[in-house]
Symmetry: C2
Subunit: 275 residues, 2 copies
Amino acid sequence: MEIRLAKSYGFCFGVKRAIKIAEESPNSVTFGPLIHNKNEIDRLKEKYNVELVEEIDEIQENSRVVIRTHGIPKEKLALLKEKNVEVIDATCPFVTKPQEIVSKMSEEGYSIVIFGDINHPEIKGVMSYATDPIVVLSVEELEGKPLKEKVATVAQTTRKFEEYQKIVNYLMEHKKEVRVFNTICNATFENQDAARELSREADIMIIIGGKNSSNTKQLFKICKENCPDSYLVENAKELEKEWFEGKKVCGITAGASTPNWIIEEVIENIKKIQV
Amino acid sequence: MEIRLAKSYGFCFGVKRAIKIAEESPNSVTFGPLIHNKNEIDRLKEKYNVELVEEIDEIQENSRVVIRTHGIPKEKLALLKEKNVEVIDATCPFVTKPQEIVSKMSEEGYSIVIFGDINHPEIKGVMSYATDPIVVLSVEELEGKPLKEKVATVAQTTRKFEEYQKIVNYLMEHKKEVRVFNTICNATFENQDAARELSREADIMIIIGGKNSSNTKQLFKICKENCPDSYLVENAKELEKEWFEGKKVCGITAGASTPNWIIEEVIENIKKIQV
């Protein structure tokens, strides 16, 4: 069986940057998971004593707090700043951007439409900077929502562009002014395009990434469309021998929060399975 | 043969308003045709001595000059104002709007994309208020054009919405911020929707309007898609008896610049043809 890597996969700019910031801030805590990858979080804990805390109350005075790549809600940031802690911001600049945009557009009197998942930490953060934002994942969810004639819209960085276009098309049909900010991240596109291409050639696809990672799940969905035998694994342990029986080309891709060492482990294990 | 009128047809708000302004300004001149309907222009000349002039040089001092519904270029307006004439503005407010928008957006540093026909007087007017506007009728024309990352876009009032969406979709794919102003006029939509509906029921469609009228030509195109025997006529004289042979349902619609008295004449003549 041949193993082929997607032309683009794995860590994006924002994740690489956040890990570097965390590595340079040993003995700190991250408020919420720094990135959506448990294995990497464990590594940062072991090697740099960067610990994960989920609640503000757990954070002790005088500690150093790293803000996760997805950002956090404005109110939480304010609470942190009230505490006597050092705040180290590892929010991806591509996430800070929509936060700033919705804040400015709210001030300028625009209704805010956020295309994204209301339960995703990135969106919880972005929402907190807007006045009465409408958060939707589809045109259906948008229908009948109270909006002014002036609407500004941003998208979750990891969303599909074509879906965002549908939202914009609906808005421009119904509103006088629609201010469209394309906040979808190119890194996501590149990994997705490469996954699409590879999944057309492969008869088995292994997608490596966190099961709660939005962009990894997107990759999985795209691969599944072209290659029914697509599997999402968090690490090498989850591989199952029978998946590979009779397969000729195994394609590999990884989500934007998946570290290289995990990808390498998975590849090594697939090679062993072949024997 | 049954004669059916479209649910919405003929004069739009801006045209009705311009005619009223012209009627209230007897012994004036219009700089360029007030509306795209020769018959109505002739009527205004005969009844109110409102004369059409095509060149600024032809306009005499102390005359009253009515600005056409489509508006005129900024430079021409400045020349008029330099002359000792009274300027009476009959520009449709829905055309003044995109003029104001592109002016403001140019000041704010946006690249301006105008979706419309560069040869249409409305667009010539709107263009003149923008700094280095890009005027296109299709995505193909837009490709490779030099644009900043911040783009503002307006559409000719009489364009098809679906075509405008294509322009916006292209822009949002390539630019960070796209400020979409939906300047397409509802009156155009309403006449078009009604024409589409009626042309599905009719076996002959008569579209009444100026042959140089953009929105009349659009109506003709829409009708032709559903009813191959569609005919564009400027007035009753252009009707031909053989068109109606063996037809059961004759649908009638009219462009936004077509006066009611012409529509009535056409209907009367069709009734006579039947006998």
